[in-house]
Amino acid sequence: MKALLAFVFGLVFGCGILISGMGNPAKVLNFFDIAGTWDPSLAFVMGGALMVTAIGYRLVFRLGKPLLANSFNLPTRQDLDVRLIGGSAVFGIGWALTGFCPGGLVPVLGLGTAPLMTAAAILAGIVAARWMIQLRYRKAAVEV
């Protein structure tokens, strides 16, 4: 039941991505191109998603706990660190080179027209970053 519902939510999420234009790199890159062929559409995607989520989350949290899990799994950290800001900057550069954010790419994979090398490169980047983070923690542990 949990898996089936997750499948349905992924399906709905993917449809939203495709309807909104987030899966179309040409549109995403034009959103970033303020000084050129600017297409502000993606601001409306964020607006629609934030409106529904901000209100929806508020109502959902009133339930006290999720319908099919024991608790809400939420990040609790509030500090700003180099990893967050540096990582985000690197992501912004990468996103601007391809036009694909991770959420924009996955639904396009099903169309068969997505560049598979971008998908492979994103997965490789995730694994590489995990390895680098682990290495750093191990080093920090030795130093302490």
């Binding site: 949990k2 898996a3 997750a6 499948f7 349905v8 992924g10 399906l11 709905v12 999420f13 449809c15 939203g16 991505i17 909104s20 234009g21 899966g23 179309n24 790199p25 040409a26 890159l29 034009n30 970033f32 191109d33 050129g36 502000p40 409306f44 629609g48 998603a49 934030l50 529904v52 989350y57 959902v60 999720p66 899990a69 809400f72 799994n73 939420l74 990040p75 950290r77 509030q78 500090d79 967050l84 800001i85 985000s88 992501f91 912004g92 550069i93 990468g94 996103w95 601007a96 391809t98 694909f100 639904p107 099903g110 169309l111 090398m117 490169a121 994103i122 980047g125 995730i126 970053a129």
Partner: protein, 142 residues
Amino acid sequence: MTEFTPLLSFAGGMVIGLATVALMAVHGRIAGINGILNGFLTTQFNQDWVWRAAFLAGMIVSPLVLLGLTGQMPEISAPSAPSLLLIGGFLTGIGTTFASGCTSGHGVCGISRLSARSIVATVTFMTAAIATVFLTRHVFGG
């Protein structure tokens, strides 16, 4: 040029929001695609792996369902050179993993909860993307 589609984009955003809220209501989970991919890449095929795999499978079949419902293939064009598609993808994977989130995790889920980390992350990646496109299109590009 791409066509300005405020209504369609807003509606698509609302659909993204709906799925995001539903995943929290039922599974108690953040609908962050980087986080889901990260958790999917494991050798421990437990319950957490199963919902992530199912969510990703749903995303992958979504264009076919949309095609069945509307009779139209969504328009996709990736204008970047192959080398950039490769380098950019790698940077995207590294960056979102270091930042613990991408457009969906920080940009939608985090900002909806007014998380300071997510607001800073979103402003940072948007600014970096705008600066990068300015450089590639107006400084170095044609």
